[in-house]
Amino acid sequence: MITPLDDFLAATVRTATPLALAALGECLTERSGVINIGLEGAIICGAFGATVAAGTVAATAGGALGLTAGFVIGAAAGAVIALLFALFTVWWRADQIITGTAITLFSLGLTGLLYKTVYGATGVGLTLPTLDAWAIPGLSALPVIGRALFAQPLITYALYLFVPWLAWWFARTHAGLALRATGESPDAALAAGVSPRRVQLLATVAGGTLAGLAGATLVLAQSGTFVEGMSAGKGFIAIAIVVLGRWSPRGVAAAALLFGGASALQYLFQSLGWTGVPYQLFLALPYVLTLLVLARASARSRAPAALARRELTLS
């Protein structure tokens, strides 16, 4: 029997998946000393790229290939937008906050325009394959957590592996060491023979790739369609998640679950029949949580020392 709690927990993990993807990408980027406020733009471009690719390929080659193409092109679209951001901020050392804001606004406008151009104002004729939940036999029958953790789409399972891998990569590889050193002290990294520009460029593009995947997940594993502005601030929430998660992959994953839970509360209250409370209140909850987190958590935790610094080297 499926209880409202099961539904709530499953919705929590489902909602947390794209948030975690984008936030892990941002975590990777920020550890190199770059804060990509254009994350929202990478998500919406990923979502649109996934829509076009999945729709086109699925029409001729079938759903499975369509899904693959959707995720690949979605990730690539996020990478391209991040590359554009990196060109300005990492290469030409433009201000990261202003550039990121411009990239986000540009991406929202561009995807809206392209959507109308390709599919018309109503989106008629837009049919997409979707990545359905795949319950792992046995595990998904566990009480309470079974359905929440083990009856999810494949992309969620991929995250279960990616989070510990990323933590290992940060701590146990020289590339991870070089990335963290660049975020703390580009001067020291340079003196040690690391190229801070190259590290920041790669970290930003990798972060954009994950944000693109987050966009693809929104379309292909959740809503099943593209809507203008469907990223709905998830990029900014992901940035708050990185702060709450204290720039560690496991912390970020846990913080993403918390925000996922806040978003999923609306389903819980609906299923409990609490119709007296306006649903907009629950929609606002993640954003209120974001504000509180940024005000409280950032005072206590320490960001990479060179985060958002324009001058690459001080001497």
Partner: protein, 525 residues
Amino acid sequence: MAALSAPAERPAALALRGVTKRFGDVVALDDVSLDVRAGTVHALLGENGAGKSTLMRVAFGLLAPDGGSISLAGVPCTPPFTPRDAMARGLGMVHQHFSLVAAMTVAENVALGAAGRYDAAKVASTVRAIGDRTGLVLDPAARVGDLPVSAQQRCEIVKALARDVRVLILDEPTAVLAPDEAQALLRWVRAFADSDPSHAVVLITHKLRDALAVADDITVLRRGVRVAHGPVAQFTEASLADAMLGPGERSSRVDAEVREAHTPRAPAADQAREGRDVLHAHQVVIRDTEGITRVRDASFTVHAGEIVGLAAVEGSGQHALLRAMAGLLPVAAGRLQSPTDVAFVPEDRHRDALLLDASLTENLALRDAGRRSGQLPWRTLAERTTALLSARDVRAAGATAIARTLSGGNQQKFVLARALDDAPSALIVENPTRGLDFRATAAVHDALRAARDAGLAVLVYSSDLDEVLAVADRVLALHDGVVHEVARERDTVGRAMLGVVSDASIANTERVTFATRTPSPGASA
């Protein structure tokens, strides 16, 4: 220079030929050559801005030269030549400002720059092995930011040695160290050069004493030109000073300054004793904004008409102590007496004392800006600025000159002039001559003495012990948050800075002073 061209010798460990480097219109290096023989220590001497660090940054691949060539062990370094190439060829550089990541461990810093999997245990054993071999002992798991400066420097050297560096460039390595630590480092440098015929060290310094003590060869730069070079036996302290300062520039005043810096004066504070006590601390405890106790026990007095020097190794609590004396930090316990009109000159004039892109008049108006309100009397301020510039010998285009356009020495003279403008009763200065050349330093010292003679109580902290000894009438040593008054002798102060204080070396005066001032409300002094 026969030694340099002896036949049957190995090729120079590092050779620079005719290196020229321009920054815009400024020629930083003009046709400079340098031969570092294998198995030797080579001192590169010069004043601030003479081009020592620039030359070595070229050698290390951090700057591309506009002309000339570099070779390592006889093999030319062809451009593009990067630090990575330099290290691969066995050349390492320890910068004056360390290139360490404070948030990372010693092992992580040592491993930085390699490729593949990072094995913390393996790197830790490398760090320990280097410690056993060379005496540069470090805890691989310690966070670099928590280490004292001397250990951070060891970490930099170990970082280089871990990459099998054989030619080591040390940029002003003793500047941040207490005298005993500096001696230990120089001994280590000597031993490193002697331990293997392929080893060599370039010691960048402006301290004649260090160069003469440890080097085999010396090269002197002045304004980007090589003005002297040869084996150490050719030089004396006087001839090196002549070479560094140039003909006719070694004026009697500078001469006096050199003498003063190198020969301790007898304590001459008897008259000062008679001055009223202006700054007074009794068993003061200070915590910084993060709640960490920086000063555990400070008891001392600064009288009107004397300069008291504070000597300390970086991170001993001087930062907090000076700010508390200036009324900028509260004390957690104890009694602190400080007049409201105390003037404070912080060490980082660019960050804390000046708006670099504002005019001198605007910079003058900034003083006490938080305490004033209403309209600004610009005309009066401009007149006051003009008067200050001429009265204090600040070389500037005028009151409207932008602060950035002044030389470092004139910026500092302006900051001092501004601090003294209101005729304060006390002056507290922190590293007043950091980054200044010889003449500017002398001018700042004169200004401090003039303030003393005008009856101010002056407290001077400098990370350079010789500067403390040069200007101070009495000396306080601060170690690990505890202040001791010590005799004004280089060795005594040096030991006290490191916490090696024997009762005999503490000046009796301190106890006498405090015996009469022990707080007993009933007694009237």
